[in-house]
């Protein structure tokens, strides 16, 4: 009886309980990852901008030597990863806000997610190729 009254205070619907619907405790995952990558990108972006600005107009030898140094290569891979993770999360929200046709929305979301991964992998491959001696 006590158990019954406890159950009757649940805010979940009977059907939802039977179907195991409800919070999967991941509702803030998108929000949290966007903030986490934002925080990481603050120092990474400042470092990148200052670095490339101070080597403006560099030739291939200088650029390769810079990218190949372990600390730079590692930081570049971190920058690329955080950038594309952050970008695709942000673009996803924009698409969900402005595109109301479900089919088109899904198609563009899939395209953006795939493009982000392809670009990130291509950029990381370029860094590693230079770092491991082209």
């Amino acid at each position: 009886m006590a158990e019954n009254s406890m159950r009757s205070t649940s805010m979940r619907s009977t059907l939802g309980r039977v179907r195991h619907l409800g919070s999967a405790k991941e509702g803030v995952h998108h929000w949290w990852m966007q903030r986490l990558t934002a925080l990481a990108l603050v120092p990474l972006v400042l470092w990148f901008v200052i670095s490339v600005a101070s080597m403006a107009g560099m030739d291939h030898a200088a650029a390769s030597a810079w990218i190949a140094s372990p600390a730079v290569a590692i930081t570049l891979v971190l920058l690329i990863t955080a950038t594309f993770y952050h970008a695709q999360l942000g673009i996803q929200v924009v698409i969900e806000d402005y595109i109301h046709n479900e089919g088109l929305k899904l198609a563009i979301l899939v395209m953006v997610k795939f493009a982000s991964i392809i670009l990130a992998v291509a950029a990381i491959f370029a860094v590693l190729k230079i770092a491991f001696g082209g």
Binding site: L46, V49, S54, H60, I67, I91, A122, A123, A126, G134
Partner: protein, 127 residues
């Protein structure tokens, strides 16, 4: 009531533009621009990996007046999104919601993004 007859909030253009709303939509606009701009970063890295000729082509384009114009816009968008992003992180932590503070941090974002962009280009010009 059918979904089509529901009352709608007034369209955005009836509101007077304010610093806060302009900065808000600019954050989104620069975010989209920066996402497109990542293509430039990927191209630059792939060119460096491909060899001296491809890299010279990329550097030649970026050093042309059109390339510099893109880089200038890119750098400002990046610094703006970075500064306003920090403003957002303070809000996320629960600080800065008072109207006066929101305006002050807004002007600080405008100022800091301009100053940081100028510093970056001074560094580039001096190198």
């Amino acid at each position: 009531m059918s979904a089509h007859n529901r009352p709608l909030s007034p369209h955005l253009q009836v509101y007077k533009p304010q610093l806060t709303s302009i900065l808000s939509i600019s954050h989104r606009a620069t975010g989209i621009a920066l996402a497109v701009g990542t293509l430039l970063l990927v191209w630059w890295l792939l060119a460096a990996a491909a060899g001296p000729e491809a890299f010279a082509t990329a550097q030649g384009f970026l050093g042309s007046w059109f390339g510099l114009l893109i880089l200038f816009g890119f750098s400002y968008a990046l610094m703006y999104h970075l500064c306003n992003g920090i403003r957002h992180l303070f809000w996320d932590a629960g600080y800065g919601f008072e109207l006066e503070t929101a305006y002050n941090s807004g002007w600080m974002t405008v100022g800091a993004s301009v100053v940081l962009t100028i510093i970056a280009w001074i560094i580039a010009a001096a190198s």
